[in-house]
């Protein structure tokens, strides 16, 4: 028994409008700004900013063409803009995750070191008389050795 099924057309989707492109740009920018605030490397932020400016240029073309009622060309530029914005958002998210993990590790190291130093300092203060006795004993042994 053979069953014929109508396969869905691959690649068919609603056209991307300038409004869609703007929405993606906003999302990409928000993710990029979060990554920047969380300490992502400056060079990476600059690179992604330049890419976002390219997306903005395509978006600008799309709006001009849409105003001229050239919908097909406007949608084409919108798609180009969306592709770049989506990539920027994805890379910015990765940068943000890495930056947050590094920030957490730095905080753990800094506060962990602070606590260890506090333990050592407190122990030194409490045991100061024992340490003084130890140094006095070592000095006595050294003097006796030198005199004999």
């Amino acid at each position: 028994m053979v069953i014929f099924a109508s396969l869905p057309k691959t690649g068919s989707s609603q056209p991307n409008t300038p409004a869609d492109a703007w929405s993606k740009i906003v999302k990409a920018f928000s993710t990029l700004q979060t990554a920047d605030t969380d300490g992502a490397p400056h060079e990476s932020i600059v690179t992604l900013s330049n890419q976002l400016n390219t997306a903005l240029a395509y978006y600008n073309n799309a709006t001009i063409l849409a105003a001229q009622n050239n919908t097909a060309a406007a949608d084409k530029y919108s798609t180009l803009s969306i592709n770049i914005s989506t990539n920027v958002a994805s890379e910015a998210k990765t940068l943000d995750d890495t930056a947050r993990n590094q920030q957490l590790a730095r905080q753990e190291l800094a506060y962990g070191t602070a606590f260890v130093l506090a333990v050592v300092s407190a122990a030194l203060v409490v045991e100061v008389d024992r340490i003084q006795r130890l140094f006095r004993k070592k000095r006595t042994v050294r003097i006796e050795r030198e005199s004999s």
């Binding site: 600059v46 903005l56 506060y111 602070a114 506090a118």
Partner: protein, 203 residues
């Protein structure tokens, strides 16, 4: 003996707490960003890169029909994080209420440019414009402009073509509102940032 050991333990804990507070404070300051005055600078530069001689007429602000002026609008981001900035250009005349620290001018916008500016960087936007033609329906002169390749006909006229103003305003995108807001978010609230260049239509 036992009492002495107990006393020693209490003394140890007190010193441990004190030293922990002190060293943790040092760690906190070491991890914190250095304080700095946050601002966004905004400038309009002439074609030769200077802050003068915008009209190439020995300083006189007269623009003739067909004369192309290539200016550069520069944004310097020192706010501490990447910004999505918009430059709104308006056409005004002698009666236009200029922008203030808290609000934009009451003139129609004739051009907008949006750009991403990373922190610590300067970004430049071109502003190439010329007067294509003028019209005199009454006492007022109206301009037909070309700005960055687009034709614009502002509904602002000036008596005898004197006293036109190009008003450049800086707007920045705010995530909370999801829209551009006038000026930028400073340490004590929003800060307006604008520039005005006067010119006369010499036709």
């Amino acid at each position: 003996m036992r009492a002495m050991q107990h006393r020693k333990a209490v003394v140890f804990l007190v010193f441990l707490a004190s030293f922990t507070i002190v060293y943790s404070s040092v760690a906190f300051f070491a991890l914190s960003k250095a304080p700095a005055q946050a601002f966004i600078g905004f400038g309009v530069f002439a074609s030769n890169g200077s802050l003068s001689n915008y009209y190439q007429n020995s300083g006189a602000p007269n623009v003739t029909i067909g004369q192309t002026l290539n200016w550069h609008l520069q944004i310097a981001n020192r706010i501490g994080r990447v910004q999505l900035a918009e430059i709104v250009v308006r056409m005004g005349n002698l009666t236009t209420i200029a922008p203030t620290e808290t609000g934009p001018a009451n003139a129609p916008d004739i051009e907008e440019s949006i750009i991403t500016v990373p922190n610590g960087e300067n970004s430049t936007v071109n502003f190439d414009w010329k007067i294509l033609s003028v019209s005199h329906p009454g006492r007022l002169t109206y301009l037909n402009l070309e700005i960055n390749g687009k034709q614009v006909k502002p509904l602002i006229g000036a008596v005898s073509g004197q006293g036109f103003r190009l008003i450049f305003e800086l707007w920045t995108f705010e995530g909370q509102s999801g829209s551009f807001q006038y000026g930028y978010s400073g340490d004590n609230g929003r800060v307006g940032n604008w520039l005005i260049l006067w010119f006369n239509s010499a036709s």
